[in-house]
Symmetry: none
Subunit: 159 residues, 2 copies
DNA sequence: TGGGATATTATGGGATATCATGGGAACTTA
DNA sequence: TAAGTTCCCATGATATCCCATAATATCCCA
């Protein structure tokens, strides 16, 4: 399974173009997947994914009560989603809405998180990362102590 | 699967003409589908789709108790539906009924929601989107974990 | 194992095509 | 005939294509 991993910081040029990191591109090319971006529902960043995720949302909507608030939430995801076309150099063009939402200016940081990746304002990402590590030290310790049964973050032995 | 995604804001000119976003047009052209518009049942907006969606509604009606109130509701969708002809530049003309129903004046916002799209008064759409995002932050994501393990709001499985 | 040759990558800029939009003129229809 | 609509063309903005370049990574062969 090939995954989106590591972080990359790239410049956004005057025309609004942004290179997709070569390792991410080769993951997509290997699967012949187009790239979709959408605005995160929970954080000030963009999310990148393949078509499977988009198809899931579409199918979930069709299966749901169209009057529910959940459908409205899913509509929001779809109406912010966009298939990104890469130019010959592997760049995408971010529209004004995307740039404003993630508050980007002249640079963007890609953070690979496995099956998907995020695009952040670089400084904001770094401070969030620092916060996350600090949080892990305080709130992570107690949960490690009582851990024995069904724990999501429990894999190979313990580390 | 080509879908209607993303949002586009276009002007309605003095003659009442409105451009259909080029990406939406190319979805329809690829399928050689005409475009249908009808008044939404649930919101003050117009819905746009191809003929297969209209067919689904017709089939749903045929499968229901023809005396039920739901059938009467679905009839409303069909009777407001209209095949839109595009001019050479890819524009449609909205009739007065459509404009009044969605309360449009000199601009319209297209919101792609997968197999169909909506047309909104731009400001109204944006406030609804803000509400939906606020709701998503507190309530969380609708259940999208079809079969898989629960994941953060993006993933990218192989296809 | 070096170290030059080659390929890849990120980035920039000019030229070209596409798109949204506007307006005039011909046409339809009531 | 008058109002509205359709056809056609013009235009500015913007996205896309194509090429250039510098920096880095990879390859290759002695």
């Amino acid at each position: 399974m090939d995954l989106f991993l590591s972080t990359f910081e790239h410049r956004i040029d005057k025309k609004g173009r942004l290179s997709v990191p070569a390792p991410f591109r080769s993951v997509l090319e290997r699967r012949r997947d187009p790239l979709y971006l959408f605005k995160s529902l929970t954080e000030p960043c963009l999310e990148g994914c393949g078509p499977e995720r988009i198809g899931q949302i579409v199918d979930a909507i069709d299966a749901m009560d169209s009057l529910s608030a959940e459908v409205a939430t899913l509509h929001t995801m779809l109406s912010s989603a966009q298939e990104m076309k890469l130019d010959a150099e592997g760049r995408i063009m971010l529209n004004a809405d995307f740039i404003a939402f993630a508050e980007l200016d002249d640079a963007a940081l890609y953070a690979g998180i496995g099956r998907s990746f995020q695009i952040w304002l670089p400084d904001r990402y770094r401070s969030r990362e620092a916060e996350a590590r600090a949080r892990a030290k305080t709130t992570g310790l107690p949960s490690l102590r009582l851990g024995r049964t069904h724990q999501p973050p429990a894999e190979n032995g313990g580390s």
